[in-house]
């Protein structure tokens, strides 16, 4: 069974309580409860919690009632849906120094996925459904990095002398991150 990609907004809604569904799989019930408590306590970020939950749901995707739970969260036809890639920031239209801070967030996400990918490397090689899920995440992240990269280059071009150095350093960092994704190029 395929688990919907991590980019689906329902994961966030499930953990922030916006989506209040009564789950049926015991592992899922307990894990979601723990994640909500930890997010409320401030001991875990919602991004980390979503990532952990997605990895474990993928691992236990064939467990009893997981299919029903996915349907209750993502809709009855969740298996057939092609999830569009959401774009949170349109840097082409909204070039501003503040986007550098957005890129920092992306960097953190990228590093997190990289760590998760490395950990699960052996499993990925043998489980097609996991490969599909993770590849979708990689494609999504590549898209995000690509947008950021282009945006930052534009920032670089328009910024004044004093800010230029900061921006240049950020672009160099983005290039380092980008080299990681080249590994996944087909």
């Amino acid at each position: 069974m395929k688990i919907p990609p991590i980019t689906r907004k329902e994961w966030r809604k499930l953990l922030n309580g916006e989506l209040d569904v009564s789950l049926r799989n015991f592992f899922f019930q307990m894990k979601v409860t723990q994640a909500r408590t930890q997010i409320n306590n401030g001991t875990v970020s919602i991004e980390t919690a979503i990532n952990d939950l997605h990895i474990l749901c993928t691992k236990f995707s064939k467990a009893k009632n997981m299919d029903e739970d996915m349907k209750s969260i993502f809709g009855a036809d969740y298996m057939d849906e092609k999830e569009p890639i959401p774009v949170h920031f349109d840097l082409q239209k909204d070039i501003d120094i503040k986007n550098i801070f957005s890129s920092l967030r992306y960097e953190r996400e990228i590093l997190f996925y990289k760590k998760a990918l490395e950990k699960k490397e052996n499993i990925v090689q043998e489980k097609n459904n996991l490969i599909v899920t993770l590849q979708e995440e990689v494609i999504f992240l590549k898209e995000k990095v690509s947008i950021l990269y282009e945006g930052l280059k534009e920032i670089e071009a328009i910024k004044e002398e004093g800010e230029y150095v900061v921006v240049e350093e950020k672009v160099k960092k983005e290039e380092k991150t980008w080299s990681f994704f080249n590994i996944f190029k087909k």
Binding site: L23, F27, Q29, L56, F60, A63, K64, I123
Partner: protein, 327 residues
């Protein structure tokens, strides 16, 4: 090997043949077993394959199938028990036995949610106990050394091949009565004096007494759809304190359960989906006693009748089942 009660001699033979086993029985028989690949805990109450039984001579055996894979037996104290998930394999499960009424039990149950990687693999197991009409004390055993413990937990970590995965499920015959008051607690604790009932500060012992609440009914919290019970151990009106068999959490809201007319009928109804190939199962001694389950049969749920059930968290009055399935 079928999970059921066996004679002492049969169990000795299993150990000598090198089977990996989880054992439950009276202290006097478990302490005479030879060293081997087994863990154990004390209890004389069982749900055998044919019916519920009290027996101090037979031993309940769960053979742990190895699938040509690995396992490890570890002993934990109150300081190390929170490392349990870190010691598990990448894919597998951990079978835990804790002794009742000990600090390790309290530490594990209150701090479970802080365990790193708690949900990476199923953690299942039970809390050992004793004949309630005796002065015995709960014990655990590591068969590797043959040592018996009063204050330590024993764990069998099992690795599964990549084509298999373990999953844990529960059967709770109770439901919260939605008409009942909502109760919240100020601390994470086994013992309660004051609590918040419908937004007002109330002494729980007085509330239980004045409202004629049946102390055999558990408090229930909702865990994203799972009803999780916490059972009353004692209502001490004189000192205004209620003690519980499990911890109450300040982050949760609780309601007392609806009364049920027949425990066995509820189990019959709610265990229909259970299959006979369970790796492990256990049920609560409170269900056994309050539901008068001695001599009555619960289908496909043979196992020790325990002083607490573990399905990641410490549970009360709940049937726990571990199964292994193909990915």
């Amino acid at each position: 090997m079928e999970s059921k009660l066996y004679t002492f001699e049969e169990v000795v033979a299993f150990i000598k043949q090198g089977f990996v086993l989880s054992l439950a029985g009276d202290e006097r028989v478990l302490s005479k077993l030879p060293p081997g690949n087994w863990i154990g805990g004390t209890i004389p109450y069982f749900m055998d394959v044919d019916c519920g039984k009290f027996n101090q001579e037979l031993i309940f055996v769960n053979e742990i199938e190895m699938y040509n894979s690995e396992y490890s037996i570890k002993v934990y104290d109150e300081n190390s028990i929170l490392n349990i998930a870190s010691d598990s394999y990448d894919n597998g499960y951990s079978l835990l036995i804790l002794p009742a009424f000990q600090k390790i039990n309290e530490v594990y149950s209150i701090q479970t949610e802080n365990i790193n990687g708690l949900y990476d693999n199923p953690i299942v197991g039970w809390v050992s106990g004793m004949d309630l009409n005796s002065s015995d004390t709960p014990k655990t055993f590591s068969g590797l050394t043959g040592k018996m413990y009063e204050d330590k937990g024993v764990v069998l970590h099992v690795k599964l091949p990549e084509n298999l995965f373990a999953q844990v499920d529960i059967v709770n015959i109770f439901n919260p009565d939605i008409e009942n008051d909502e109760i919240k607690f100020y601390n994470n604790s086994f013992d309660v004096t004051s609590c918040m009932i419908n937004g007002k500060d109330v002494n729980l012992a007085e509330y239980v007494t004045e409202n004629g609440i049946d102390s055999k009914l558990p408090l229930i919290a909702d865990y994203s759809g799972a009803s999780i019970n916490v059972c009353i151990k004692e209502v001490d009106v004189e000192n205004g304190k209620v003690s519980f068999f499990g911890p109450l959490f300040k982050s949760k809201s609780y309601k007392f359960a609806k009364a049920i007319p027949s425990y066995i009928n509820e189990f019959d109804d709610k265990t229909k989906e259970l299959t006979a190939n369970n790796v492990f199962s256990c049920n609560c001694v409170l269900n056994y006693l309050y539901g008068d389950l001695e001599g009555k049969k619960i289908n496909n749920a043979a196992g020790p009748v325990t002083f607490g059930e573990i399905a990641y968290n410490l549970l009360n009055q709940t049937l726990v089942v571990l199964t292994i399935d193909e990915i």
